[in-house]
């Protein structure tokens, strides 16, 4: 029962090494100050212990020089920590262009994962070593948080919007996947594994097994099943809704002034709450699709609309699957 008890987590991503360096720096600085304070207090308490019942201490009222010293030095040290923490944060936040994208949906109490090629997983996430992976995450019900300790990354999964995180696995292996935001009865059961594989093994895994439609293909089918294409026409004629080709990532003028960037969040909002931000020149006639499409289907629709703005007709990860 007590054979395996680590005191430090595995370091299995490029990010983990950066986070750990900062951690050890802060550990060293804070340990030094803790020991300094403890040493001074214990030392003073022993040296100046009361020897006679009516002894009193020496009247010392203070020292401006010392006050400045112990204000400025901690200030400077914390600013170094701030800058270092901010640097690590920037790197954790900004996924490089061309990162492999994977969709994740959290629901009480499981993780559903869909790869761009159509592979689906539940409570498991297979990723290749050495390649940046970006997760686009949404929730079907309450807050969750996707947490891979071995990679030192975490992001809340929030209903009603998309959150992102990214990492580059650096060491093949199987690692814990936890839900870190309390989400109800079986919160501690909302766990799984992240399996980092060498690229060749990952390719083999990706092309094996029962793949289904890719999110883009599934989104295209939904787009016509839900008759989106009657208004958002795709034959270069203007319908009742705006044309969606080459819109993703661009600034859009809104009715009533203002602009918005057409990102995943805006596309999602326009499906579930179409009257919130209407494109300039259109009347709000679109019905809401809230409750008619699941979070997964929303992600598929978003993936499809996104693909309409991609230069090549191929999906995001071209030339990886000769077999399909």
């Amino acid at each position: 029962m007590f054979t395996n008890f680590p005191f430090f987590p595995p370091q299995a991503s490029v990010q983990a090494a950066q986070v750990d360096s900062l951690y050890f720096f802060m550990l060293a600085v804070t340990a030094f100050f803790s020991l300094l304070i403890a040493g001074l207090i214990v030392g003073f308490a022993a040296k100046y212990r009361r020897r006679h019942e009516d002894d009193v201490g020496v009247a010392i009222h203070g020292s401006l020089a010392l006050e400045l010293l112990w204000t400025v030095i901690p200030f400077l040290i914390t600013m170094v920590m701030f800058a270092w923490g901010a640097k690590v944060f920037f790197e954790l936040y900004r996924a490089p262009a061309g990162a492999m994208e994977i969709y994740v949906i959290g629901k009480q109490w499981m993780w559903k994962v869909q790869h761009m090629d159509g592979q689906r997983e539940i409570n498991e996430l297979h990723v290749p070593v050495g390649r940046p992976v970006k997760l686009i995450m949404g929730s079907e019900d309450v807050l969750h948080s996707f947490y891979i300790p071995a990679f030192r990354v975490k992001a809340d999964v929030i209903p009603g919007r998309y959150n992102h995180m990214w990492f580059t696995a650096s060491k093949a292996g199987t690692y814990h996947l936890f839900c870190a935001e309390y989400c109800g009865t079986k919160h501690s059961g909302m766990i799984g594994s992240v399996i980092a594989m060498e690229p060749a093994a990952f390719q083999a895994w990706l092309s094996g097994g029962a793949g289904s439609d890719s999110p883009i293909a599934a989104g295209a089918k939904l787009f016509s099943d839900l008759s989106c294409n009657t208004c958002h026409r795709q034959d270069n004629t203007q319908g009742r809704g705006p044309m969606l080709a080459n819109v993703f990532g661009k600034q859009v003028e809104l009715e009533g002034g203002g602009t918005v960037v057409a990102d995943e969040a805006y596309l999602r909002e326009s499906i579930v709450n179409p009257h919130a931000k209407v494109v300039a020149g259109f009347v709000p006639t679109m019905p809401t699709f809230q409750g008619m499409v699941s979070e997964e289907q929303l992600l598929q629709l978003v993936a499809y609309v996104r693909s309409l703005s991609m230069p090549a007709p191929a999906p995001v990860t071209p030339a990886r699957e000769p077999g399909r």
């Binding site: 029962m1 008890f5 680590p6 430090f8 987590p9 986070v19 802060m26 804070t30 803790s34 304070i37 403890a38 207090i41 003073f44 308490a45 100046y48 009361r50 009193v56 201490g57 020496v58 009247a59 010392i60 009222h61 020292s63 401006l64 020089a65 010392l66 006050e67 204000t71 901690p74 914390t78 920590m81 701030f82 270092w84 923490g85 901010a86 690590v88 944060f89 954790l92 936040y93 019900d141 309450v142 807050l143 300790p149 071995a150 992001a155 809340d156 209903p159 009603g160 959150n163 814990h176 936890f178 870190a180 935001e181 309390y182 989400c183 109800g184 009865t185 919160h187 501690s188 059961g189």
Partner: protein
């Protein structure tokens, strides 16, 4: 401090606030701040042991990796009730409502607080809020966590959220009224000669705390009201399915609940400043720096709430602003620690139990504060957010800090409050047990957190077990350490030696009036000629 002349030494000596009036009515309808402090003492002690019981059930469950002592539903209710009871019904009222209530009027030479009836009202409001929480607990409990995060609390949980939220809402008013009472009292009721810079640091700390109580508490009251409204009436405020924003709740909640930590820790810092001076027989080093650092903490503390939202998709720049402000709020705390340390230098140090608790406070608060820096560094917080690292950090502040400070204060002023001396040997033993038990409980949790164990987990992977067993063992020692004072304090009331007015050879107006004090605190209003804790003849000894 000048003694109130020669107080007439006749029957007035024997009549004090404890024997001036008998029967339940004389307590439940009292307007005496000292009796109201004791009403609070009794009620928060009950809540403390209730919250402690919940904590012990949590530690019992976590002894093994599998959830085998209780069901997940029950476990989730345990940590929720532990948090709600400890935060809102013990920690927030603890030092202000008991020690502050008892001591502030005496320390400034007043007969009572400015509004004695409001003071009694605030205790009744507290009890009413507590009753709602007990009803929520007895009728099946709440499982949202003390943080009431939406949309779980408004849309998903099927437990007694509204009852518990009502309890929190009501008890907030008790806090607001206490803060208001303190501020007016400190402004208007000081004895002749008690200038602002002669005020004991305990009073300064409570002044800063009262500002937070008045400015912050209305926000939490509105926030839990909105939760109840969304839950009951389906108003779309926080639930995205109704058009709301769940992260908005986190902003509103932490706008109060982060400063609330300072409501707990600032009064404890005030206690430590008094105890360190009394047990070194030396005036504090850097009086005005300590006084103003309390105000700095109160102000900057309102601007750091966003560090609870680093992983909730907040913008990068918001994250950076909250990060730098969170680092800044650490500086005034560091200044206090350095000043206390310098106060011990060339003091006449006696390690009686209040001083042991105070030194324990400084050590544990230092660790708690320094680990806070890890969480202010955004890049590092992302990994440890919502893990046991956080749990360990805030227990070092709230238990290692606030409760150690409360214990230091209780031991220091117990002879004044009860008029009796407790057993110093037992008190030293319990201080030692609490220090050891506390560290054994919570230090392993830092390691668990960096390993990645998330908080609020009913079951966990096997490799975390050794550290969890250590933690539960520590909690067992800690609970003995907390039960002991309960026994020897009660024992002292019946069997303890009578305390003289000043059993420690300390200074301050509270030590010039008899133990226990008369109802009107002083037979003759004192006239103040200098600050507190001036033990040595006042010769300036610079060390610049």
């Amino acid at each position: 401090m000048t003694a109130p002349g020669e107080a007439p030494k006749d029957d007035m000596e024997t009549l004090n606030y404890l024997n001036n009036g008998h029967g339940l009515g004389s307590w439940l309808l009292t307007k005496d701040h000292k009796r109201i402090a004791l009403l609070y003492l009794a009620s928060i002690t009950a809540f403390f042991f209730l919250g402690g019981l919940f904590a012990f059930m949590i530690r019992l469950e976590l002894l093994t990796p599998r959830g085998d002592v209780m069901s997940s539903e029950t476990y989730n209710k345990m940590f929720t009730m532990h948090g709600v009871v400890m935060v809102f019904f013990f920690l927030i009222p603890s030092i202000p409502a008991v020690l502050g209530n008892f001591l502030i009027p005496i320390m400034i030479g007043a007969k009572d607080l400015a509004f004695p009836r409001i003071n009694l009202l605030s205790w009744y409001i507290y009890v009413l809020g507590g009753l709602f929480t007990l009803i929520a607990a007895l009728s099946g409990g709440v499982d949202t966590g003390w943080t009431f995060y939406t949309p779980y609390s408004t849309a998903a949980s099927n437990t007694h959220v509204i009852t518990a939220a009502t309890g929190v809402f009501i008890t907030g008013f008790s806090s607001i009224l206490t803060g208001l009472n303190f501020i007016v009292t400190i402004h208007r009721m000081r004895a002749p000669g008690m200038t602002w810079f002669r005020l004991p640091l305990f009073v300064w700390a409570h002044y800063a705390t009262s500002l937070i109580m008045i400015l912050g508490t209305p926000v939490i009251a509105i926030t839990v009201l909105l939760v109840a409204a969304e839950r009951a009436l389906h108003l779309g405020i926080f639930d995205p399915a109704l058009g709301g924003d769940p992260v908005l709740f986190q902003h509103l909640f932490w706008f109060y609940s982060h400063p609330a930590v300072y409501i707990m820790i600032l009064p404890a810092m005030g206690v430590i400043s008094e105890v360190v001076q009394a047990f070194t027989r030396k005036n504090v080093f850097g009086y005005s720096y300590i006084a103003f650092s309390s105000l700095a903490i109160a102000i900057i503390g309102f601007l750091v709430w966003g560090h609870h939202i680093f992983v909730a998709g907040q913008s990068v720049y918001a994250g950076l602003v909250f990060s730098i402000l969170s680092f800044l709020v650490a500086i005034p705390s560091a200044v206090k620690v350095f000043n206390w340390t310098a106060t011990i230098y060339k003091g006449s140090v006696k390690l009686d139990s209040p001083m042991l608790y105070a030194i324990g406070f400084i050590g544990l608060f230092t660790i708690g504060g320094l680990t806070g820096l890890f969480l202010a560094a955004v890049g590092l917080d992302i990994h440890v957010h919502d893990t046991y690292f956080i749990v360990a950090h805030f227990h070092y502040i709230m238990v290692g800090g606030a409760i150690m400070g409360y214990m230091a204060g209780l031991h220091y002023w117990w002879p004044k409050i009860s008029g009796r001396l407790y057993s110093e040997g037992w008190a030293k033993l319990s201080a030692g047990l609490i220090f050891i038990g506390f560290n054994l409980t919570f230090f392993p949790q830092f390691i668990l957190g960096y390993l990645g164990m998330p908080r609020r987990y009913h079951a966990y992977p096997d490799e975390f077990q050794v550290l969890n067993v250590a933690s539960t063992l520590g909690a067992s020692i800690l609970s003995v350490g907390y039960v002991l004072p309960m026994i020897y304090f009660v024992w002292s009331i019946f069997r303890g030696e009578e305390s003289p007015a000043d059993p420690w050879g300390a200074q301050g107006l509270e030590w010039e009036t008899p133990s226990p004090p008369p109802t009107e605190n002083f037979h003759v209003t004192p006239i103040v000629t200098h600050g507190t804790h001036q033990y040595a003849p006042s010769k300036e000894v610079g060390i610049v």
